[in-house]
């Protein structure tokens, strides 16, 4: 009885604690709210709206918003509400694939560099620095233009993933180097733990907020890159991602013909995605790098 009561009390403290924390970290609060809104739009939209209308020739052509098509339709006969629902999902999927793989590989590479030290570390550091100097989008343009016509949202995600691990690797290496000398890691070694176990058991849990921040940042970067490629016409030709919608809109002269709804839909959706990710990143940064916190408070 009392146990349950106590536990309930703890939950309540947890909730108010979170609420109080969010009040102090408004960018995280707004970012999470926006992100939740987007998820709701995707999930709710998939349930409540007929997403097959995102296919070409499934709706009347180039209509402004109406009750039947709240976001209007494009010149290919796609319903833009359906396109936004599907497109947001596809764009996030690309980001998740690239960001997820990027952080996992980056963490492995970063920990390896920090733990191996010496030549291995120097080699990894040089490689990441070299790759980071070249804007990822430029490499991706070369790859994507060579694969033009054969790209799907999945291969797009994988392609970007190949260039998403460097930034996390560098950050995680720096963090691991700090943690490697931490007295509690030394104590773990004295307690008989070895490399991998120390990384997984002693370091990783303390790096979770940091990894989270890394992931969201990588996700945002990946979406940025994918939308950029798609706007150049280098995306999946038959999947209505947000970036491809921008490309089609430009190619079919929506500007000259004054189809403002076709211009507005992908731009608004993309802005919401980018702003949400930016705010969440800024908020998580405040948790992961307490030095920053002091700066803001001071």
């Amino acid at each position: 009885m009392t146990g349950v009561a106590v536990r309930r009390g703890a939950v309540r403290i947890g909730i108010t604690g979170v609420r109080r924390y969010l009040a102090r970290n408004p960018s995280l609060a707004w970012g999470l709210a926006l992100a939740a809104g987007l998820v709701l739009f995707m999930a709710g939209g998939s349930l409540a709206w007929d997403t097959t209308l995102a296919e070409p020739l499934s709706a009347p052509v180039a209509r402004p918003p109406s009750w039947a098509h709240p976001f209007g339709t494009d010149t290919q006969g796609r319903d833009l509400l359906a396109v936004m629902i599907v497109g947001t999902r596809l764009t996030l999927k690309i980001g998740m694939i690239a960001g997820g793989i990027g952080v996992l590989v980056g963490a492995a590479v970063g920990f390896t560099a920090a733990y191996a030290g010496g030549r291995i570390d120097a080699a990894i550091r040089t490689l990441t620095d070299v790759l980071l100097t070249v804007p990822a989008l430029l490499f991706l343009i070369v790859v994507a233009s060579s694969l033009k016509g054969e790209i799907t949202s999945t291969t797009m995600g994988l392609m970007i993933a190949a260039l998403s691990w460097m930034a996390p690797a560098r950050q995680i290496r720096a963090q691991a180097l700090v943690l490697r000398g931490a007295p509690y890691v030394v104590m773990a070694r004295l307690g008989g733990m070895r490399g991998t176990e120390i990384v997984l058991r002693e370091m990783l849990p303390n790096l979770l907020p940091f990894l989270m921040a890394s992931f969201v940042l990588a996700l945002a970067q990946a979406i940025l890159a994918s939308v950029g490629l798609e706007a150049l016409g280098l995306g999946a030709q038959d999947e209505p991602t947000l970036g491809m919608t921008v490309y089609w809109m430009m190619s079919y002269s929506a500007f000259v013909r004054g189809f403002w709804w076709w211009i507005a839909a992908p731009i608004v959706a993309l802005c919401l995605v980018f702003v949400a990710l930016y705010l969440v990143t800024a908020g998580l940064d405040e948790i992961a790098n307490p030095r920053l916190k002091r700066r803001v408070v001071a």
Partner: protein, 321 residues
């Protein structure tokens, strides 16, 4: 069985940065033997940069010497097989300086200790390990009910450091490396913690390397003193010998800088030379030494002043046998 840790002619050089930075010699050939048959507390005294922490790392097997060997029960650490390494790991434990970061903030305070006790076979399971740890807590004056099961941030610095000592006791090591164990603890608790270390020597037969910059606490607990300056052992002896009549000019400076509670004892008589330029070879102290002469360009060998006492300074020579 009594274990034996031998640090033999250990030298540690940290290479400079990739493009031709100067390398730093942290230890110039240091030897120290701890024999389990005669447990003792050896204080290693020196200022920051003296190499005392490097020595602690090497004694713990966390860092490898550039030259010289560390032997445990006669086997060099570098040549140990898996079993030997585990035995060494178990037998040589540590209390570190910073009680605040010695505990993983993600886990409850007993996490690392219980894991180690089970891993080294000192307890059959976690429950047994916990009770061993609880006993050790009581031995250092901590109430296990108030301490175990809490997160590090819920304990004070003094509680945490005593818990570190309790962990060390529970591990029943042969050698304990205490690296500045009381420098970050409230003055009121220092004596207690040092007393627990002395108790480990007396009751468990643990040999202790007590690394410190503080001569007074070394004087209180140590059986033997090693004074380090920039990686060189400049003087060794019993605390009585060294503190009553410091032989090396650096030790004299150290002793003179201690604000002794005796008001009659004057303070700061030794003339101080402002930090001289670091010297490449020869006696490292000669830039700051009031007695420096041309002969100091070469580091003299140790002069044996008594069976327990050595000093490396041109002012002293071994008496003829």
């Amino acid at each position: 069985m009594a274990h034996r840790l031998e640090i033999d002619g250990v030298r540690r050089v940290f290479p400079g940065r990739a493009f031709g930075g100067p390398s730093v010699v942290a230890l110039h050939g240091l030897s120290l033997t701890l024999d389990g048959a005669r447990p003792e507390i050896v204080a290693v005294v020196g200022e920051s940069g003296s190499g005392k922490s490097t020595l602690a790392q090497i004694a713990l097997g966390l860092d490898d010497p550039s030259a010289g060997t560390v032997r445990f029960d006669g086997t060099s650490l570098g040549r140990m097989d898996e079993g030997g390494r585990v035995r060494f790991r178990r037998a040589v434990q540590a209390v570190l300086q910073d009680p605040f970061s010695s505990f993983n903030p993600f886990y409850r305070v007993e996490h690392a200790a219980i894991l180690a006790l089970v891993r080294f076979g000192l307890a059959p399971d976690r429950r047994a390990a916990r009770s061993i740890l609880a006993d050790a807590c009581e031995a250092v004056g901590l109430n296990p009910a108030d301490t175990l099961g809490r997160f590090p941030h819920e304990l004070s610095g003094g509680q945490r450091q005593r818990l570190m000592v309790a962990r060390a006791m529970a591990m029943r090591p042969a050698v304990l490396v205490a690296d500045e164990p009381v420098s970050m603890v409230d003055a009121s608790l220092r004596a207690t913690i040092l007393a627990h270390l002395a108790a480990m020597r007396d009751a468990q037969g643990v040999s202790i390397i007590y690394v410190t910059h503080d001569l007074t606490t070394a004087y209180q607990v140590a059986d033997r003193l090693i004074v380090l300056y920039r990686g060189h052992v400049v003087e060794t002896g019993t605390p009585e010998e060294v503190l009553k009549a410091p032989a090396h000019p650096y030790t004299r400076l150290l002793v003179d800088s201690v604000p002794w509670p005796d008001l009659a004892r004057p303070w700061g008589r030794v003339p101080k030379v402002a930090d001289g330029a670091p010297v490449a070879d020869g006696c490292p102290f000669r830039g700051r030494c009031p007695d420096a002469t041309a002969v100091c360009a070469r580091m003299p060998g140790p002069a044996v002043l008594s069976p327990t006492r050595t000093v490396r300074c041109h002012l002293h020579r071994s008496p003829p046998a």
